[in-house]
């Protein structure tokens, strides 16, 4: 068998990855005022709109999914008998 890649077994590498990720978030926030916007809707032209909308949407999707799970989750063999 080939050698295994274990890059993320090292917590340092995970930390590096996350640091790079947070840095890119900061860059995106910093870049926002410098781009020329031609928004079709007033809200889309607001500063950092997409960052806020992306964050909130994701939280909402997962929260609603958790609520949905409460209602629709069944054991794996639910349909089997």
């Amino acid at each position: 068998m080939k050698k295994e890649i274990k890059i993320f077994d090292n917590p340092k590498n995970v930390k590096r990855l996350l640091r790079g990720f947070y840095l890119s978030l900061a860059v995106l926030l910093a870049a926002d005022p410098f781009v020329h916007k031609h928004a079709e809707f007033p809200w889309a032209g607001k500063h950092q709109f997409f960052a806020a909308y992306g964050f909130v949407s994701c939280v909402l999707v997962i929260t609603i999914a958790k609520i949905l799970r409460f209602f629709v989750k069944r054991r794996e063999d639910y349909y089997d008998d």
Binding site: L28, F41, S57
Partner: protein
């Protein structure tokens, strides 16, 4: 109209499917790669026109309407069949190969059909052929899923057929043309197409069946059925406002299910539906930009969705497992598959430089241009949702996440090359969208790479990822659990069972009562009466004869016994029984 020099691309595949089981393995493999190339050559050689026109029973059947819309779908169908056949090259199962050939042929037939009759025929070929890609997994679950799948699709086909019959009745022609949603004919056609497009609530066949298909079969499935429905919808109902809202809802609702689903291929099935929602929304908006967006998104989607299904199929092929709770940490020994999966994930999430970005943006921009703020917000919400379920969840739980301890090898080289080609095309189209834009139905005046657009999209996705990361680390994210989630299919899976039970008890109960009363009691008494009638008739005359002849009671008793015995054993003199029977008939005659 041109002479029919070339073979129709659909028949190239259909005949290939018939030949496949008869060929030795190496020739079959050659054919699997050669036939898509041959179909592509036919496509390249034919300019846009109408081909293969036949008059049948006074109707004009058009098997080859090649115009910009059908051409772009034909290109991607041929391209993906090449990639999917390459992926399935190591599979030694004629059933799957024949089914895949017929399925691809059906999809091309639908694409080129210029009339409703041929559309319907190819539509049903697709339904039947695709069923075998599910059946071919040869498990109890796949058999049951295939059974439900074909029943649902035959029902959808019947809606389509009923609509077509009404349409032909109303218009007198069979040519496919743009329709508006008015009158039962157009609605029935709409429902038939909507079922194949998995528009809610007609969607659950997809999530039910695709995850049960063979590892390679689901790649074909992910490409043809829903996207040929997208094509037909774009052909017949562009600008139908209902589609904007059905499509927008369709982008959002599957996302919730995808988050809590355990089976990776089912997660992909929900995200497939979510992506088709974008296309439906574009078709509903109906402007040139929106239709271009829907068509190009179908093109790109087929590539990255097939890529994701290939990555999941590879994992299933080498580990035999594909549930979040059973896999994880596979990047360690399957780095290439992991890389290809990440490319697919980035593409479906519409990261700049990946193909989803250059196609999906057109649809969202069209919603903006037409000033439909609610739809625009819904599509952006769904775009952020995609990053959570398909963008991160699929690669994260498969290749990273908790280490399952599985140390599987990479899949066979043909599978890797197939994924590599799809991944390359995802990136190539993302970086150079112009070749794709040049084959779209309408001229493209759209620039995806503007500063605002790139930064806005990156913000949406990266902050979505940020939210995901925070929720995973805080434990807020719903944990992976071995469970299933109820969807609309409950109504026909459990509802069907209840109906069957009720029908069983109700109708069989009625049957039992009828059996008791009619078959056993009534018929029995009629039989007894009929058997004993001649004897009784004769016995009826015994007292009169006794009175006349003056015989004793004992003697007449003996005679009665002898008469009964004679009738029981059938040893009656013929004359007597004939006389009795005649008398009986006479009596019957009097009473009726």
């Amino acid at each position: 109209m041109m002479t029919d020099v070339w073979m129709h691309p659909a028949f190239i595949f259909l005949i290939g499917g018939l030949l496949a089981p008869l060929m030795p393995a190496y020739a079959k493999r050659g054919m699997m790669l050669f036939l898509p190339a041959a179909a592509l050559a036919v496509l390249f050689s034919l300019p846009n026109d109408t081909y293969w026109v036949y008059r049948v029973m006074g109707y004009e059947l058009i098997l080859g309407r090649i115009d910009p819309l059908s051409r772009v779908f034909a290109y991607i169908f041929v391209l993906i069949s090449f990639i999917a056949f390459l992926f399935a090259l190591n599979v030694e199962d004629d059933l799957q190969h024949t089914a895949a050939f017929a399925y691809a042929g059906g999809a091309l037939g639908v694409t080129f059909a210029g009339d409703f009759f041929s559309l319907y025929i190819f539509w049903e070929i697709m339904a039947v052929a695709s069923t075998f890609l599910i059946l071919a997994r040869r498990t109890e679950r796949s058999r049951a899923a295939a059974h439900r799948y074909i029943l649902v699709h035959l029902l959808g086909g019947l809606f389509l057929l009923a609509g077509i019959i009404l349409y032909v009745h109303d218009t007198g022609g069979v040519a496919i043309q743009k329709l508006t949603l008015s009158g039962p004919g157009s609605w029935l056609i709409f429902i038939g197409i909507a079922l194949n497009a998995a528009i809610p609530p007609l969607h659950p066949w997809l999530q039910d069946a695709y995850p049960e298909a063979t590892p390679t079969g689901s790649v074909f499935l992910s490409a043809f059925t829903t996207k040929s429905a997208v094509y037909v919808m774009a052909r017949i109902f562009p600008g139908a406002e209902l589609l904007i809202w059905l499509g927008a809802f369709m982008t959002i609702f599957p996302g919730f299910y995808a988050e809590i689903e355990n089976d990776i291929r089912r997660v992909l099935s929900y995200s497939l539906m979510n992506q088709v929602g974008f296309m439906m929304c574009g078709i509903g908006i109906g402007t040139q930009l929106a239709i271009n967006g829907a068509v190009s998104h179908a093109f790109c989607h087929i590539l990255y969705k097939a890529l994701l299904f290939m990555a999941a199929g590879s994992v299933l092929h080498v580990t035999g497992k594909i549930k979040c709770t059973e896999i994880g940490g596979l990047y360690k020994t399957m780095p290439l598959t992991c890389l290809f999966c990440l490319v697919g994930a980035a593409s479906i999430s519409a990261f700049p430089l990946f193909n989803g970005f250059v196609s999906k943006s057109m649809i969202i921009s069209a919603a903006g241009h037409e000033h439909i703020p609610i739809a625009w917000l819904m599509l952006q919400f769904a775009s952020a949702g995609v990053i959570a379920h398909a963008g991160i969840k699929v690669p994260f739980f498969t290749f990273f996440g908790h280490d399952s301890g599985i140390r599987a090898k990479e899949p066979p080289v043909n599978m890797l090359i197939a994924m590599g080609i799809a991944a390359f095309l995802c990136v190539f189209i993302g970086v150079f969208p112009q070749p794709l834009y040049s084959i779209l139905p309408y001229p493209v005046d759209y620039v995806p790479y503007t500063g605002a657009h790139v930064v806005g999209q990156l913000q949406l996705l990266m902050f979505g990822m940020f939210a995901f990361a925070l929720m995973i680390r805080s434990g807020y994210y719903p944990p992976e659990v071995r469970a299933i989630n109820l969807d609309v299919d409950w109504f026909y899976r459990i509802g069907g069972r209840i109906f069957q039970g009720a029908a069983d008890r109700g109708l069989n109960g009625l049957n039992g009562i009828a059996d008791q009363l009619l078959a056993k009691k009534l018929t029995g008494s009629v039989c007894r009466f009929a058997r004993q009638a001649p004897a009784n008739l004769v016995l009826f005359f015994v007292p009169a004869v006794r009175a006349l002849s003056g015989m004793s009671k004992d003697e007449s008793g003996k005679i009665r016994a002898r008469i009964l015995a004679a009738f029981e054993t059938g040893s009656v003199p013929i004359g007597l029984s004939a006389a009795a029977a005649t008398l009986f008939v006479v009596i019957l005659f009097f009473f009726t």
